[in-house]
């Protein structure tokens, strides 16, 4: 026994390699780290819930034979022309500027094939997007970049954005490398500036003003268009109540897993709450006001598969929205790009520098050569395929729970795998009747 035991290097749980790297990077540059995407930390999520398939006490529906409906009507509280979608999975707001024109067109094509809506973003509506989108939601943001009444009238619905899950309370940014001549022209900005977007709307403050603002937009559009209010999940119980009181037709609730084109890493990781605890709070607010299923609830932030769709709807959502997953479906982070991504300091499966415009997939870029790499027809087809899979998966699980429509899923179809998820989702811990915080 002359050989010594090799030393084991112990990594600090507090100062792990990521923390050390970030301190070193900050010391070298003097500026916070900016990136795209949503939070990367592990959070209580839909994976911590399970659906209870039928057996003796409930009977299931026959797969592929007995119908499981998927359609949803959005905005029938006040709007003369509510939106009727074939599937309850919508495409979240992402701007032309953050995304290439081809990517926006592909989102419109895919959504239209699948029978759902897509959404503009900060910077206005492009003709390509309007032309390819059967149902287009026009975002009304604090910056009002590209906002004009002609496009307002062309929209099928209007979404007043108060915040987003990746950065509730924060404004937007679009770094200069993506502010090209076309993007700058649409936003009335000098070419190449680091565009800052305000975090608050310029002409109203607080919920009473919001009611007047909603009334103004309704008046301008002759009460035809559904008006959504989008909030970043932080205090959803109160925010939903105030938005409904202000006159919203639809609430869009975005959890902290929701992506962004460009925001400070520290903001993405430390502000807001996950979508899992946000949904029950929003549903409670709607139920207390007698507005559940009358004011529709669209939830987003980390939706990846049909199980997530089914679980979100079982918790009380009327529909879900996808952003990051839609970009992945178009080709973001595809393994074939691994070599190119490594050249710019990333790798397939890790790429999040959506802010710098060098995306080899041609999606989060304004570079004309890179943009050409994304064929909008092929991208649209891929997105439509993915949307179909999401819905088929959700239907499969709903039928197993004995539900003839995705909207018939309810919290009684769910249990939680962890105490935390049980408390947040307000469903029993699996194998018990215990909902922490509600029953003792």
């Amino acid at each position: 026994m002359s050989e010594k035991t090799p030393p084991v290097l112990r990594e600090s749980a507090t100062f792990d390699r990521l923390a050390i790297q970030e301190i070193q990077r900050a010391a070298e540059t003097g500026i916070y780290d900016i990136r795209g995407g949503g939070t990367k930390r592990k959070l209580p999520h839909f994976d911590d819930l399970l659906l209870l398939g039928a057996s003796v006490s409930r009977y299931p529906l026959e797969g592929y034979r007995e119908k499981c409906g998927t359609d949803v009507v959005l905005g029938n509280r006040f709007a003369k022309k509510p939106i009727h979608l074939k599937i309850p999975v919508t495409i979240a707001g992402m701007s032309f500027g953050a995304l290439s024109a081809n990517a926006k067109e592909a989102l419109g094509r895919g959504a239209t094939i699948a029978g759902t809506s897509t959404t503009t973003g900060d910077g206005g509506m492009t003709p390509e997007e309007r032309g390819q989108s059967q149902h287009l939601v026009y975002q009304y943001l604090p910056s009002r970049y590209g906002m004009n009444p002609d496009d307002l009238r062309k929209a099928d619905a209007i979404e007043i954005v108060l915040g987003q899950g990746a950065k509730p309370g924060g404004g937007g940014m679009l770094l200069g490398m993506k502010v090209t001549e076309r993007v700058a022209g649409m936003r009335t900005l000098p070419i190449g500036v680091d565009q800052r977007s305000a975090c608050r709307h310029p002409d109203w403050t607080g919920p009473d003003d919001l009611a007047i603002k909603i009334a103004e937009i309704r008046e301008i559009t002759d009460w035809e268009k559904p008006i959504y209010v989008k909030i970043g999940a932080s205090r959803p119980y109160y925010d939903v109540k105030l938005a409904v009181k202000a006159g919203a037709d639809v609430i869009v609730l975005d959890g902290m897993q929701g992506g962004t084109a460009a925001t400070q890493e520290v903001f993405i990781e430390h502000v807001g709450i996950p979508i899992l605890p946000a949904i029950p709070q929003a549903v409670q607010a709607l139920q207390e006001m007698g507005m559940h299923r009358k004011v529709q609830l669209i939830v987003s932030g980390g939706i990846r598969n049909g199980a997530d769709v089914a679980k979100a709807m079982a918790l009380g959502a009327d529909a879900v929205a996808i952003g990051t997953a839609a970009l992945i479906a178009l080709g973001d982070n595809h393994p074939r790009l691994d070599e190119e991504l490594k050249k710019i300091g990333s790798a397939a499966g890790f790429y999040d520098d959506w802010q710098n415009g060098r995306d080899p997939a041609g999606i989060t870029t304004q570079d004309p050569e890179l943009s050409k790499r994304l064929d909008p027809v092929e991208g649209g087809r891929r997105l439509a395929n993915y949307l179909r899979v999401l819905v088929l998966e959700a239907q499969t699980m709903a039928r197993a729970c004995g539900k003839s429509h995705l909207h018939n899923l309810d919290p009684e179809d769910l249990v939680a795998l962890t105490v935390e998820a049980a408390a947040m989702a307000r469903v029993p811990l699996a194998g018990t009747h215990w909902i922490p915080g509600q029953q003792y």
Binding site: T29, G30, I31, S143, R144, M147, N148, P149, D150, L152, G176, R187, T188, L189, P190, G192, V193, D194, R196, A198, P202, D203, W204, D209, I212, K213, A215, E216, E219, I220, T221, D222, W223
Partner: protein
């Protein structure tokens, strides 16, 4: 001339009648009586009509106006002519906050004073104020001209892009990246034209010009204290 009396018609009736003019013009001249501070009067109009509002108006009067000429014989609430694209809005009294916010075009004339955030995020509109304006006016102003015949409050032109600001009186303070600039011949000329169009008997030579120093256009860590 068409008169709509808001003591027996609704704001919805008014706006729908005005919107219908975009398809077919029934009357070029409209008069609105008994506005009594109602919100959202004459919003989203898209036709070359003149609208005379005979009294005070609430929030967002003439919001998103296109082509119309709107005169308010009184004061206006928050966001008068917000996001206006074209046309002309004249306020005979004073305006509350955020007058002309985010507007892309047209001319907004306020004969009295304007409150805080006048011209916030303006994107091409021309605003001429006969009196004074409040704090944080022209915050993130992107394009267009803001003319103030009186004084300006704190933090004028904070985070300014390319809006040109002309003030005759005292400026309480300038916001980040907003500086006094030389008044050259082309500025005197455009300012005099604006004053004349607004119907104010003022001389361009009595004003000072303010604009962006363009130091915050691209983030530099040395400027962090300015944010």
């Amino acid at each position: 001339m068409k008169t709509i009396d808001l003591s027996n018609a609704s704001v919805r009736d008014l706006n729908q009648a005005l919107h219908d003019q975009a398809k077919h013009v029934d009357d070029r001249e409209w008069v609105v009586t008994h506005p009594d501070g109602a919100h959202n009067l004459a919003v989203g109009v898209n036709q070359e009509v003149s609208i005379d509002i005979q009294g005070h108006a609430g929030y967002y009067c003439a919001g998103m106006n296109q082509k119309a000429s709107v005169t308010v014989h009184g004061n206006v609430g928050v966001g008068c002519a917000e996001n206006m694209m074209s046309g002309y809005v004249r306020v005979k009294g004073s305006a509350s906050q955020a007058a002309g916010a985010t507007a892309h075009g047209g001319l907004l004339v306020i004969e009295g004073d304007a409150g805080a955030r006048c011209g916030i995020s303006m994107k091409g509109i021309d605003i001429v104020v006969g009196g004074s304006i409040g704090h944080m006016s022209c915050f993130m102003g992107q394009a267009g001209r803001l003319v103030v015949c009186g004084d300006a409050g704190d933090a004028l032109g904070d985070s300014l892009y390319e809006t040109r600001i002309y003030v005759k009186g005292k400026v309480e303070s300038l916001g980040s990246d907003c500086i006094a600039k030389e008044m050259r011949a082309e500025h005197l000329e455009e300012l005099q034209q604006l004053l004349d169009r607004a119907g104010f008997n003022e001389k361009a030579a009595d004003f000072k010009r303010y604009g962006s120093a363009r130091q915050l256009y691209n983030f530099k860590v040395d400027n962090a204290s300015a944010y």
